[in-house]
Symmetry: C2
Subunit: 188 residues, 2 copies
Amino acid sequence: MVRWEPDSRGRLAQAAMALYAERGFDDTTVAQIAQRAGLTERTFFRHFADKREVLFAGADELVACFVSAIESAPPTATPIDAVACSLEAAAAVFAPRREGSKRRQAVIAANPELQERELIKLARLAHAMADALRRRGVKDPAATLSAEAGVTVFRVGFEEWVRPATTTELSQLFCAALSELKAVTAGR
Amino acid sequence: MVRWEPDSRGRLAQAAMALYAERGFDDTTVAQIAQRAGLTERTFFRHFADKREVLFAGADELVACFVSAIESAPPTATPIDAVACSLEAAAAVFAPRREGSKRRQAVIAANPELQERELIKLARLAHAMADALRRRGVKDPAATLSAEAGVTVFRVGFEEWVRPATTTELSQLFCAALSELKAVTAGR
């Protein structure tokens, strides 16, 4: 008999995040996650390769969001304008996910191995953005530099956004960080 | 009887780099490195924690070079100027090491795990640079943005420098990459 499991993926992710926050990532097992979600370990492994993947399953979606926004930026947009478009698109995707993003950030901040994984994710994002810029005809090093600037702005804006006291919208924080980067590189 | 081992650290490093290039990093053992250097495994482990450390032993020196240059930049220097000073200092340190840097880069480029380690090293460098800027009174996010801009310029300039066909000096490549970053963020 196959039990109907409405949104088992979402339930597993929610159970995992709750347990990571309560017990720490290292001390949480897949068995505990499945139990908390009222599902089996087998169901967990149908959705996630391991307990780390729960935290990084959204990476491909994030990359795709940035890349497609760069691709569909107006043909006249400069590289940094195309990058700004992609930050705006990403902000729209994250906007309804602030609480989840805060919880995820707290789990990652508490674990050096997860921080390393996050670095690798962001490096992949920068590569994908630079590739998308090259497909628009942007040469190197401009493509790499614009993409890296975009990822830096993403990180700085995002880290501000998930701070407990912050109420500003992510899109505004991205704009502010990009303006600040422009000011800083201009030598102000 | 203690055998005199002149520059055993340097000989081990050289033997390791030669073997990594010949056989690949994964297929090289510490025993082979020691044998090639005419030394014992015990001597290897007196100098390096493991075979990966041969490639990353210079990381602390790199960080110290950037940090001390930021600290000793003129008090009137803007954050990006202080970062430019640190790039110049790093270029002077690397200048006599072009061949070794090329070999190291080739080993790292061939191995995803080493690429990840390199990312982590550069993230540490960015943190240390941002801290040094904060000690100069630079506020956030300007400190983080300037430091990340510096590491991006470092990476772009360095990768160009170790390309087989490149003959330009590293300091010039850093200058060029920084100018390009300024142009890109200014929307050109």
